[in-house]
Symmetry: C2
Subunit: 599 residues, 2 copies
């Protein structure tokens, strides 16, 4: 029996539906067990990683990362998502997000961790046969074996399915011989298990294999020299007649690209949570430093210019937290629903994530851009010290920059999210066209002058969100109609639409989270969260306005353009927010607490 009472919403439907605050999960709802797990993880970082961060990044001691990795395994951190029957902890989806969140502040190790527990382990968990799971998962869950994921090739990055690595079945049908070259492979330097994507014969699509290092035929280049995450192993890997038993094929022939895509969906939302603790850490450091650092006779965070930076760093992080855990729980609930309706666990997990692939992409894009903003401002708050390798901002700045690149660049993710919305609309999976038509009609009708009752918290803000959705429906709807199939090649417009989508989901998630929090703790206890939601919304409106205007300018003319611009004006109307005062209040509170105090 399905006991979930919340109003369930499908992937991408946030664009056309309103969500009740009670129906979303918020960070503050993690239970004691989950918090203890997170704390254990934080303790692990504080004792094993932070004191050794220089040594880790120097890569002078090739044993240090593998050793830390083994210790993480002993603590159970590598088996969070692996079911207990395979030696893991069998934790829920959102718990695994929380752990990725905490590990995210571990610098290089967070990539090591993500590559192993995510893209390295999950293909076996979700697509492996019973035998494969029984053989590999227990060792991966404990860290006895380390895994890596070999998809990218020198000539196949964003276009992963174009890889040239070949797998050829031996005459006796017992082995595949794999030949080819992979690039940018995280954990390659010490991995025991390689998830390898290759093409059998002249197949159009990839096939995935579980390859053990011990099979032989695997060589690699030296460690890549990188801007950041320098302690994370990244290598080119060569397969020279690497002999893989036929039973080590993962799922079916030709199914590899689908595996890659589905696993990347999970990887994306985990990156979305994986930036959070890094961002919080940077904010807390910036608060401390700016309290200690005195210029002109006072702590530099008495200056409005610094306060507004600290506040804005926190605001964006809070918003990213809100949207990522909201999406995480939506996925988890969907998985539970599917399992309750009789679906096999692994398949349910895949379907759950696939349903919210749009939100996964949003989470990755928003999170990675928030992180880059936060570290950039962190450097600036530190002034000259921000540029010094003896202070923490320098590393944070370099490490952060990878997130906009891997697991699908943010450009690819932006294109995907819009593409998926349109595709789902075409398939009738989300009813986009009716509301788009309604908006279209609204454009030519007299605007209603109903004043809304703003006595209730966020009543006005929710009206704004509603209208922002109309912006998407108006611009996206008209673009889809005007450009039809060609829209995919009008990437600039796709990017604009993606920006609109991201900001709607972000602003709405923050408001819903805060509203739920208020219902739990009362308004007085949440003044700063209320302020953060309002400031974010007001800047989101500006960004949506700018993106929508660009899009409108790119495919409309004359009267149609005029009507749409008038619609845009109508739909982006919002009372002015005193961002200066609100940001100061937020900053003062953080300074008083001495750290990021919102989760």
């Amino acid at each position: 029996m399905n006991t979930i009472t919340k109003q369930s919403i499908n992937g991408g439907e946030f664009l056309i539906k309103e969500t009740d605050a009670q129906d979303i999960f918020i960070f503050e709802e993690f239970n004691e067990e989950q918090k203890m797990m997170a704390q254990a993880c934080q303790d692990f970082i504080d004792t094993e990683i932070t004191p050794n961060i220089e040594e880790i990044d120097s890569m002078k001691n090739p044993e240090i990362i593998p050793n830390i990795f083994k210790k993480a395994g002993e603590l159970g951190l590598l088996g969070i998502s692996v079911p207990e029957q395979y030696g893991g902890m069998g934790m829920s989806f959102n718990t695994s997000m929380l752990i990725a969140d905490i590990v995210g502040s571990a610098g290089s190790f967070s990539t090591t961790y993500g590559a192993h527990t995510g893209i390295g382990t999950l293909p076996i968990l979700y697509y492996g046969t019973e035998d494969q799971k029984a053989k590999y998962l227990p060792k991966l869950a404990t860290g006895e074996w380390a895994a890596c994921y070999c998809l990218t090739e020198p000539d196949a990055g964003s276009d992963a399915n174009s890889g040239k690595t070949k797998a050829v079945l031996s005459q006796d049908g017992k082995h595949y011989l794999i030949n080819g070259q992979k690039m940018w492979i995280s954990n390659a330097g010490f991995a025991d298990i390689f998830i390898v994507f290759a093409k059998i014969d002249d197949d159009k699509n990839l096939t995935a294999f579980i390859v053990e290092k011990s099979f032989g035929g695997i060589t690699m280049n030296e460690e890549e020299k990188k801007m950041g995450i320098k302690g994370s192993s990244t290598r080119q890997v060569f397969f020279n007649d690497c002999k893989v038993p036929a039973e080590n094929m993962l799922s079916d022939r030709g199914n590899g690209f689908k595996i890659a895509v589905n696993i990347l969906n999970i990887g994306r939302i985990k990156l979305g949570s994986g930036i959070l603790n890094g961002a919080r850490e940077v904010i807390s450091q910036a608060i401390k430093y700016s309290t200690e650092r005195k210029q002109f006779g006072v702590s530099i965070n008495t200056f409005g210019a610094i306060k507004s930076k600290l506040a804005e760093m926190a605001i964006r992080t809070y918003v990213s937290e809100s949207l990522t855990y909201r999406a995480g729980q939506d996925i988890e609930d969907r998985i539970n629903d599917l399992v309750a309706s009789g679906m096999e666990d692994a398949i349910a997990k895949l379907k759950g994530v696939e349903e919210f692939a749009i939100e996964c992409a949003i989470s990755k894009v928003h999170g990675s851009e928030v992180l880059d903003y936060v570290v950039d401002q962190g450097v600036q708050v530190y002034g000259g010290m921000g540029y010094s390798a003896d202070a923490p901002m320098e590393r944070a700045y370099r490490d952060a920059r990878i997130v906009r690149i891997y697991e699908g660049t943010n450009e690819i993710n932006r294109m995907l999210m819009v593409g998926m919305v349109l595709k789902r609309a075409m398939k009738g999976e989300i009813n986009l066209f009716e509301p788009a038509m309604a908006v279209s009609q609204e454009l030519t009708s007299v605007p209603s002058f109903d004043t809304i009752d703003t006595s209730e918290l966020f009543a006005a803000e929710k009206e704004v969100i509603k209208k922002l959705k109309k912006v998407f429906l108006m611009v996206g709807g008209k673009a889809a109609m005007a450009l039809q199939d060609k829209i995919e090649s009008e990437q600039e417009i796709m990017m604009n639409l993606a920006d609109v989508m991201v900001e709607i989901y972000a602003a709405e998630s923050a408001i819903l989270r805060t509203q739920k929090l208020v219902s739990l703790r009362g308004e007085e206890a949440c003044v700063h969260q209320i302020a953060m939601s309002q400031v974010y919304l007001s800047s989101a409106v500006d960004r949506i306005n700018a993106a929508a205007k660009e899009a409108i300018g790119s495919f409309t003319k004359g009267d149609e353009q005029k009507v749409m611009l008038m619609g845009l004006k109508r739909f982006t109307k919002m009372d002015l927010v005193d961002t200066k005062t609100l940001r100061r209040q937020i900053a003062d509170y953080m300074i008083e607490k001495g750290k990021y105090p919102f989760s």
Copy 2:
């Protein structure tokens, strides 16, 4: 006799006056001699720097930077601004900007160069006695001696005048004994001459000294480990009873802070030009890479998402070029005017720069932020390769980040530029109040519906610029009135006003440059420059709108706020620009040329 026929404009007056395109200098007007000098400089970089960039940044060979430095001296590159009578080339102000521009693409060496020729040499050139000039300038101009500039201390960065380094006159009046600690000193590792700022006894203000390494009493820490410009020497310097002959005081006692400020003004605009060639280089590399790199069967720059990046990188660089050289020539013309009217050369130079201190700050802020945008997008265009130290973007990204920090952080520069405008207005040096009053009156009057004749190139855009100036006058005027003295502590509003100023100067400069270029080459030859100016203006309007809205929300309420918002709407009205199509045209042209083709 003053033979200059151009309408001269004072510093900051761009906010209230219109400038004729013919009255500004544009990059394309550099003459053959200047271009040859620039080319010699480029050749020097191509042969001496680029092939050795890894070795330079490794700092393993302590001789390499001093050697390159000496060679630059032999070529005359270190004496560009030094008059011929002191062994230099005596080139004009804007020529020295051009050389700083070219050297800017030399990575770490550009900081070495700037520290020596700018902040290291200019204090002597502008404030030295005849004896001091005769003694030091010839050796500095040829590179026989290297100079550094010791202002910053551990506890005195942005608040430079609070330095604790002390200078005490000996009993016999012959020497000062200097004691103290300086930090972040570029070139310290191999400098012969130290321009040192210290306080005599308990003076409130700094005094400057020319200190030779050979005087003794100077020790230093190891090289700082930095995010970028790793080949540029940066050290802490300790003065322990360093014995400086009394005649080595620069200018008068207590005049040091003024020297520091004036020299930093020059440093700032030179950073503004110093980012340009680095940006061009990154753009050219991104164009080449994105042509070579194929995904989905085509060069990645056939994708709109990449085209729009390439175009936007170029647009912002073009705009920064436009404003920086416009300001540079305004300074040069002012210097010439002053000299023609009988002022001593060195004093005229100082006065010329001081007059345009606002524009110097704008140039530094705009340039450094354009550079960070360009390198960030450069990394992204390279994808995974952008993160690799084997490709050029990684270094460019790290090197660029310093420019927003040194020579006054961008926050300090933003505050300064607004503060200076207000101060000049108070002093009656620029007539801000009358136009502000006029705008204020306009707010409550019926808007004129005169349609302007848009048949002339940029007629519409110039109307927009005129109105954007009204935004500044409206918001700045009201803020000054409402907040009075308190405005300096309302830094968020100062930042907003600074953003408005920067964008007005930037957008106007681009339009004027393009207009002048059209007058020289005809419209057809300038289609891309026209497009760049239009796209920039349209995004500048968005940024101004957002900044002004924030400011208005921060100090107004009720009816006053409503009136101002209506004014803002009126003053930021602009016809929609088809940015997608224009950016594509710009990108296609660049791809065809294979490099940044606009200077």
